[in-house]
Symmetry: D3
Subunit: 116 residues, 6 copies
């Protein structure tokens, strides 16, 4: 049976594959950079994931939030650390962030439930 | 039978309860401020609701718009007043506001129909 | 049978008609301007459609993107030209544009399929 | 001697005149709408000015904030009412609004000082 | 004697050089992409410059607007074409774009005057 | 002799004092939250400062960026860590972030020079 995490990932993969097959050089390089930017450097992967999460949240990009929540989950970041990151996003970005906070919280629960 | 207003409110309440139960101090205080900011002060409640509505609309936050539409409806604000507020939002925020205007208009109709 | 393009257009038309019937002068004039701004002037219609598309994409307005994709399609703009426009949007607007790029790509495919 | 309010208004008038003399029909009509939207309708002028102020503030447009602060001042809106409006903007738009709040507060003081 | 165009370009070059000398791989590649994206492809350079201009304007990035105004000027794009592009930006992005329109208009005048 | 860091801090303090003296309860509480959110919790202060920096940068708030650059500097965060954070901001937020990156880089240099 499908669930929200699998559905999101399946759609994301399917469309990314189509877009990359289209061979637009600029888009391909941006997708590539996206992979590189979150690998270990002066900052560790965990910190970078939280940077990606807070930036996605203040910019109110639900799909970007989902992506970084799943990566954060896989990196072993705790729920408390995620919530502190989201609280900073809500303070900096204001109450318009709250609807995205609700959806983020729900998605995190699904990630945890999938594990059960 | 459920309708869009009830569905929105049910999801909103369920997730707010979960988030608040999580005890993140910053988030709890922001939720609290949100309740206080729209109560009577130098400005009356009606004016404050319209301020919340126009700000939510130019920031293109559908859920925030729905919330302030329902509060406005309960405060007895007229459709004409709501439309003037939304027209100012569309002028200031530009034609990218129009898709949100369509959804706002539809939600207002549901609020009126629920009453019937 | 309905498809995503028809559904989008039907909802858009229905709500626009209701909003315009409501006789708010400011909103009516903005809708009117929207029609005028994309007609031939110093710039041709094709260039203007691409301007509308790139602006809608960086502002992450899915419905505006759909609208300009359909107009672009009807103007005979090629998929390659659309992709270059979307690549500029993704570079200027950043990776938060990517979820909208996925939906734009899918919508363009539907436009092509409808034609088949 | 010039002061910040006069300087802002002089630059604004000079550039608006040049832009309008250029005879772009779309721009002329938008400028025109801007005048109409804030005149008395179902909502009074004072409420509309506050709507313009809160929308400009959450969108972090310093020049738009200045414009609506001066109109608000001329309409006899009190400092307390302005501050409540700005507090709603800061809550909805988040702490990134604070730098604009500082400049708004300073501009309001200049408006009051000019009167003295 | 320095003028606004020269000052802007000098600061831009100086800081870009410093940033690139710093050897952050992600930033270097983004700067690189920026050069590539606006070169001739399915779309000609002139159309791409106008795409860059309208996107920068709706995103209210004065420095990006200046950059694309100068490139547009060098490509031989006419004032009327620039104004149509800016009018579409103002319609889509709303009246909060107007302060940026004033500064764009002034910068275009400087570009023309420098030529004199 | 004054320098950009001192000037920024002096203006910021002066206006914050005035705004807080005005006794608007909502604004006072938001200022208060801002202090609390960046103190040690599940995440350490250094990580939180970088979260504040990346969020401020993608939202293109120069004053917020300056504030978090100074706090980061005082926390002993290295230039390389700051640059990685800013590179993630530029990737996620797009090339419209670049003008803010230039000003951030310049401000960091001033922070280092002040120390010399």
């Amino acid at each position: 049976m499908s669930n929200p995490v699998e559905e999101f990932n399946a759609y994301r993969s399917k469309m990314n594959d189509k877009i990359l097959a289209d061979n637009n050089k600029i888009i391909k390089r941006i997708f590539n950079l996206d992979t590189n930017a979150f690998s270990k450097g002066a900052l560790d992967v965990k910190t970078k994931e939280l940077l990606g999460l807070v930036a996605s949240t203040v910019l109110r990009c639900d799909d970007c939030v989902k992506y970084h929540l799943e990566s954060s989950y896989k990196e072993g970041i705790s729920k408390e650390e995620v919530m502190e990151t989201l609280s900073i996003a809500t303070l900096i970005g204001g109450t318009i962030v709250i609807p995205h906070l609700r959806r983020a919280y729900e998605y995190w629960e699904t990630l945890e439930d999938n594990q059960g």
